[in-house]
Subunit: 301 residues, 4 copies
């Protein structure tokens, strides 16, 4: 029995890059946090501290900023593919690269009824995400792209039940046929191809998720999530699978009866912790292998 180095990777996390397009008076803004991770022939750095094969994380950072201009930063999926393939193709010891990106949304300030050319408000805590993994070079090169969103807080004030559940000696919960259901949705969808209109599909998936959350009469958060994912896969056959993680942000009906005040599902306490947490994958049954697609690095996705 001997001790050996197992899997390892390194990179620069949370590069806060802002890219302004200013070719016309109507500027565009792309505001991202980018993390890069490389793996490959780096054993010497671990075992004996030899950096000869180590591309500094500072270099990875410089590259990420420079590529925002060299390659452009319009769709984060596309930018991530450019960055990942660069490291794999041009840095000899690199066998694979992973790029994780969070994009912060901005909306234009409206002045006198018109969107302003160069002034924005930050839009929500929700972020769009992408994770790109590239392995190998030449014809054997494989690319995995996962698009997504996270921290999309949504709530419905009716149309949600929870009843008929299992009982054991620790079960005190009462069934309900009308409750507030809220979650802070994190979703990732894995593409089968890179020949994608990234902007259109992001907007389309987001709309489907929101629509299904609104329209499905919910018997359980599990059921709602499944329908949301199923609708995405029905609409987009190029999505191999979608993974959803949804905290059940509990809203407890507040008991006002001691004060002789009726509470007809009107006043709730929004609890912080604990929260339910539902995670589910909805997949095409012939989906390609996920490979390293979901191997989270810096927690941005």
């Amino acid at each position: 029995m001997s001790i050996v180095l197992g899997s390892n990777r390194y990179g620069k996390a949370e590069n806060r890059i802002v890219r302004i397009y200013r070719d016309t008076p109507r500027h565009e803004i792309h505001d991202v946090s980018v993390s890069t991770a490389l793996h490959g022939d780096f054993a010497a750095a671990h075992l004996v501290g030899d950096q000869l094969h180590v591309l500094p994380t500072n270099t990875q950072k410089q590259t990420a900023y420079s590529f925002a201009k060299e390659k452009g930063l319009l769709s984060i999926e596309s930018y991530g593919i450019d960055l990942a393939t660069h490291f794999v193709d041009h840095i000899e010891p690199v066998a694979g690269a992973r790029i994780e990106i969070e994009e912060f949304a901005w909306e234009r300030v409206v002045v006198d009824g018109a969107e302003h050319n160069h002034t924005w408000m930050r839009r929500g805590q929700k972020t769009r995400t992408a994770a790109i993994s590239v392995e190998g070079t030449g014809p054997a090169q494989q690319v995995w792209v996962v698009g997504g969103l996270k921290d999309q807080v949504i709530l419905k004030s009716t149309g949600s039940e929870f009843a008929g559940f299992m009982q054991d000696p620790y079960t005190l919960l009462q069934p309900t046929n009308d409750r507030v259901m809220a979650t802070s949705l994190t979703a990732g969808w894995r593409f089968m191809t890179t020949d994608v209109d990234w902007e259109a599909i992001y907007a389309g998936i987001k709309q489907i998720l929101m629509t299904q959350f609104a329209l499905v009469h919910s018997l359980a958060l599990q059921q709602t999530l499944y329908r949301m994912g199923e609708a995405v896969l029905e609409a987009y056959p190029l999505i191999a699978e979608i993974r959803l993680s949804a905290p059940n942000k509990h809203h407890f009906l507040y008991d006002l009866s001691p004060f002789n005040v009726a509470n007809n599902d009107e006043v709730y306490h929004a609890a912080d912790r604990p929260y339910g947490l539902i995670q589910a994958t909805i997949t095409h049954d012939d989906a390609s292998d996920a490979g390293p697609a979901w191997d989270s690095y810096a927690g941005l996705v």
Copy 2:
């Protein structure tokens, strides 16, 4: 020289109340964090641990939840006045009360082009705020109301300079005639009256702040803030004063010249810390006394 009890107050902070209006199929939601603070004749609790005059913080909580139904929770300023005056008017030892409220904004999910009746997305990290202070009872009772917003992140990608500044031996900064200017605005405006259309004025002030931020060609963040505040006071004579606190969220132009890549104000690094921090009050010269209006309790406002 003896040791005495000075100013003191106590209450329940960050009650997370959600109020749903469901009288029609089109529900309304008001999602708030409410803090209550009381001061008055509470020396015995401090000096000898006698609680006879102490209304428990739990009771303050119960009242806050119950008032969301009893009095309604439409405008936070109005709800806060109801709650504060209740404590001052009906709890004997209470000389004054302060209510601080944060309101989290939601926007309706749009399904097939129409706003949904009972499904929302949380809108941004920006929150609306209110702080209500009530002192005294009967004809001598005084009420101060401060409305506001906080964490409104805004950015303009041009139309901002910083030049002609003072030099000393520690001054290394180079002047610039075109920069990205961004801040996370916190603003509070003090009313001279409580006879106010709270919703209309909140929307109006927010629009003025955004419009001025967009339209003013900025020579300094100080100047932009002054114009923003001045425009609010010009539009609303019932505002006694407005206080603005604005971190200068630095966006540094990234040096790509080592890579022979031109960066024509296109690629920036968004820095976390340190940040500039500008604070200013713009006031009517005959504004009434601020009293305890700005005496922050739980940090919600």
Copy 3:
């Protein structure tokens, strides 16, 4: 009625300075976050965007870093006085300066029973704080120093009651004669002089606060806080006043009776929100005027 500029200040917030003393093999570390704020004759910057009198916040930052070497960074109170008086004495338009400092504690790693010379572990989320305000120049110059600590989480598992409190129609709370009491203490103490052994007095006050929290049989958090503050003022006549802010971090006894499990004050739920919040000042009755001592700028103190 005209619109005028009211009070205003500006500076650089949260400079993250780490100062290593390495004159001997046993290094020392001081790890701080420093905010600087200046006020004075800056109306032109606000009114017309004229920066001629504005010392850039970047310059304030450079000065703060350089002073860590020039003046040293041993006691944060002393460093803060040096920095504040520099701005007031040497920058013409500056009428007053405020420096707020948070210091992060480190403890040495122990190797084979001995403290290591140059390796540390970060010690807790608790931080030591200081706020220095300097107004005016020459003989009329005044200096206020507030030392403090924040986010010191403390808990006692017995020796705390809460009973005999006021009742109103919203009062549901049951009295208790044995509860868990916990808080995250923030304290600030104002000095009457600057001729102080800053390190000794910080250690002394912290010990007194912890000791009193442990030893006082608590009838209310108010009473505990008063005793803590009183003991500090008794021990240190050079302290004019101490201000304490203490969230009551509720620990609710968990009801295990449905499972026929006895819970003799053994299993609690630690709640996040809401929380009680007690604030009190304990003061010498002849304390000097507080002036701007408590006028918080960046929220570090």
Copy 4:
């Protein structure tokens, strides 16, 4: 090609349980955040909203609190095993369970030189962690235990180099032979057995990690991490593997030369983002299969 439900699980996250042992006047405290996740035959809940097999997350919560008394809460690994096996053994549809636990450390307040019986200060942001996965019932049951710690911030002010690294056109970094090295360590170690003195081994591993960080002359963070992990595996053959994730919290030497101030590795800027991020596994070459051991659920570990 059809759409199917893939892997899924659900549970209650971040139950904030505090367990006091008060059998003698010298109390003991265990303060934890516990997350439970179940997987198994739950397809009906997803596909048709049928809850018949769903043990509510509320029930999981009740069980977690009750087990703090029924089974005790001394070592988090042991408590987690009890809880996981309960769900797998007694809840019919459950095929496997995962328990993730964070434990917050407290240290006794010292009064007059003696540790106090029932008063504590919270100790640091560092937490101890455990993740327990149990799959299957009866003789086929398998149990995986991962112990760990997270957010252990450590720093050394000398004894760290970074030089001799790879160069490419984006490489601007200068080599250094003396730097500040700091990280916020997260580590997890997987046990080959459950017959373990959990307290002793946690203390032992933590000491080894700190000692190696202090003693290894670092040529790269990678090398330091490898030595830390190797030393743990050498000391504890019952550890199958250890995984380390270490952000390189950059401390940049501050340039004081414009002010003619010498900075001999004494004044640094502590940067927030971006940061390097090094992840490595050190393993016994014959380690048993990791199974679901590292399949993080609620992010507590």
